[in-house]
């Protein structure tokens, strides 16, 4: 069983090394992730939103839906603590 796991892991390692050769170089401006929507964010940030900080423009405007979900996750986590561990619950367990 141990040898079987090692063979599987070795096969995955070989696959990763083989596939890694095809990855674009770090910071390559022609890589697929940099030619899809990034140029329009970089060019549009100031004329479309008047926001010099592109990160903020992407976070709150272009990807606003994502940020809405993130905030909801944080509030939900807080509410879950409120429901499961209300004040003093930890002390009562001890």
């Amino acid at each position: 069983m141990k040898w079987f796991s090692l063979i599987i892991l070795g096969a995955f390692l070989a696959l990763v090394v083989y596939a890694g050769g095809d990855l674009p170089a770090l910071g390559d401006p022609e890589s697929p992730s940099h030619v899809h929507v990034s140029p329009s964010y970089i060019e549009g940030s100031i004329p479309e939103t008047r926001t010099p900080n592109i990160v903020t423009a992407v976070l709150a405007d272009y990807r606003g839906y994502d940020t809405l979900g993130e905030t909801l996750v944080i509030v939900t986590a807080g509410l879950a603590v409120l429901l499961i561990l209300p004040r003093g619950a930890l002390r009562r367990i001890r």
């Binding site: 709150a60 405007d61 839906y65 807080g78 409120l82």
Partner: protein, 145 residues
């Protein structure tokens, strides 16, 4: 109940530092458009100032000033500010969260989006602030009341 930390140095320093920390938190929220910052970071700084007060001046006094119940309400209000900004964008027939549709009168689309980002950041800040104070109160809080 976490009691007052009876030490004049701790008390004095936290009394002096807390307004500065809170001012810096507001600055970080408002500065998100021009540099590092935004709602998440600013909300965390505001929550940290309240945690410092709870640790140094004691919960008895600080809960009268800002109760755990108020923290829960604050996180919900922040979430509502965010969602309401999205819903207000629908008024002029634009998509959900497309701030160009905010009913802000004469402002152009880009300026409306600038203000929309600010409103959303404030909502995030309130939500994070309330949630972290709530987590602090309920995880580190003392006896149930």
């Amino acid at each position: 109940m976490r009691r007052r930390y009876e030490n004049p140095i701790v008390e004095g320093v936290s009394r002096v530092m807390v307004p500065l920390i809170q001012l810096f938190g507001l600055y970080v929220i408002a500065h998100g458009h021009y540099g590092p910052g935004g709602g998440f970071q600013g909300g965390v700084i505001l929550a940290a100032s309240m945690m410092l007060l709870r640790l140094s001046l004691g919960e008895e006094q600080e809960h009268r000033r800002f109760s755990p119940r108020a923290a829960a309400a604050l996180s919900a209000v922040g979430m509502l500010v965010f969602a309401a900004t999205g819903l207000l964008s629908l008024v002029e027939g634009k998509e959900f969260l497309n701030y160009a549709g905010l009913p802000l009168g004469e402002l152009s689309g880009a300026e409306a989006r600038y203000l929309g980002i600010l409103m959303v950041e404030i909502g995030i800040g309130l939500a994070v602030w309330g949630t972290l104070v709530m987590l602090f109160d309920h995880l580190l809080g003392g006896e149930a009341k």
